[in-house]
């Protein structure tokens, strides 16, 4: 962890949260597909990061987003779940030979297929928790599933686009 990394992770989180609460808050494609782009900040934490700090960061991040969404607890619960599942899922899908030290699981470093299989299930888990809690006792299971599926597709697409546009490509292989 050098000084550059120490700066870049918090800055990225702050920027993504700002984008989330100012631009993406009122966006819902067809009333079903929400964009939870701030999750990208959690997904791109270094692979070597331990579970406990990640859980605390996710809890705080979810809470801040909740304050602006008027949905106290929903983002918090779902983001905490994502942070808990992430190290487990990373272990499950680790490539042969394991990860390099200090690697971030980004699209540019790991490639499209790996990034999709990494981010999609995690974001889907997040969405299930989010919409399940939101519609507790009211919405049907089908509508929860529907919203979760389209939201996670939309979020993953946006996450890949953002990385393509704003992240430095790794030169050569």
């Amino acid at each position: 962890m050098n000084i550059r990394n120490l700066l870049i992770y918090p800055l990225r989180l702050i920027l993504l949260v700002l984008v989330q609460i100012f631009l993406l808050k009122n966006l819902a494609l067809f009333g079903h597909a929400f964009a939870f782009l701030y999750l990208l900040g959690l997904l791109l934490m270094p692979i070597s990061m331990r579970t406990i700090p990640l859980l605390l960061i996710a809890f705080g991040l979810g809470f801040i987003v909740d304050l602006f969404y008027e949905t106290i607890g929903l983002h918090t619960a779902a983001a905490t779940l994502l942070a808990f599942l992430r190290p487990i899922w990373l272990k499950v899908i680790s490539p042969t030979g394991g990860y390099d030290d200090l690697q971030t699981p980004s699209f540019n470093q790991m490639g499209l297929g790996w990034f999709l299989s990494y981010s999609f299930p995690l974001v889907f888990g997040f969405s299930l928790m989010f919409f399940g809690l939101d519609q507790w006792g009211f919405g049907s299971f089908f509508s929860v599933l529907n919203k979760s599926l389209f939201s996670s597709i939309f979020t993953c697409l946006l996450a890949i686009l953002v990385q393509l546009l704003f992240f430095k490509r790794r030169r050569g292989i």
Binding site: G31, L55, L56, Y69, E70, I72, G73, L74, F138
Partner: protein, 279 residues
Amino acid sequence: MLRILQFLYRIRAFLLFILLEVAAVWMVVTNNSPQGAAFFNSSNAVIGSVLKKQADLVQFFSLAQANEQLADENAQILEKLQSFSRPADSVYLQLDSLLMVSYEFKGARVIGNSIRFSQNYITLNKGAKDGVKPGMGVFNSDGVIGRVKSVSQNYAVAFSLLNTGLLVSSKIKTTNDFGSVQWDGGDASEANLLYIPRHVKAQPGDTVITSGFNAVFPEGIPIGVISEVNPDKDNPNYLQIKLKLAVDFGKITYVYLVENTQFEELDTLFQQSEVSNEY
């Protein structure tokens, strides 16, 4: 003993996860119950001011529409004023002046709004400083919008009608049968009218207005138009009525707040006579 401690230490991440998750769910539950103490919401000064900045910017683009709406409303008010001026040759009865002053109105601007969740809230730019109190009704020229939940010095948060926890006492205009309007968490342009007995001849196209019974809204504020009438499958005594809401919740910018100045007196009376009244 040492083994137990070692075991607990090994699953510390899982324990922390459970703890945080329980805390989050607890927040969801306390925030969504209407009486629950809500502290962290957008009536908080910092969050309110950020949302206001955002609303200021977005509002610029809907100024024309807001103007049009205000002009329409002015026209309606002028029309009403006309009907108050006495015709030259008629008997005039003075109404009880108490009746006239039992409602007080205030204006406010919407700075935060959501329609996509099953518990939606609206943030307004007026707070305790401007005389806004929890429990006031919120409406605009189209119809009922919600009810104030909590206030801070400068901002207020209101339950939107698009909140599954809010019931609004209402009646069908033509037949005067009363029931409650509740949103079902689905389509943002539709709601249900509950507790209308089966013998009532409700028809698609009938207007539904506030009943004036619950002492929050004055009588006669539109809520919506009936779009569908079916017998209720679960409870054969009632009809299942769907409303097309009068307000387009995606576009609300300016709203009115209404307070019943005799609310406390009514409330005490209800409590004394042990009548439970819905709000």
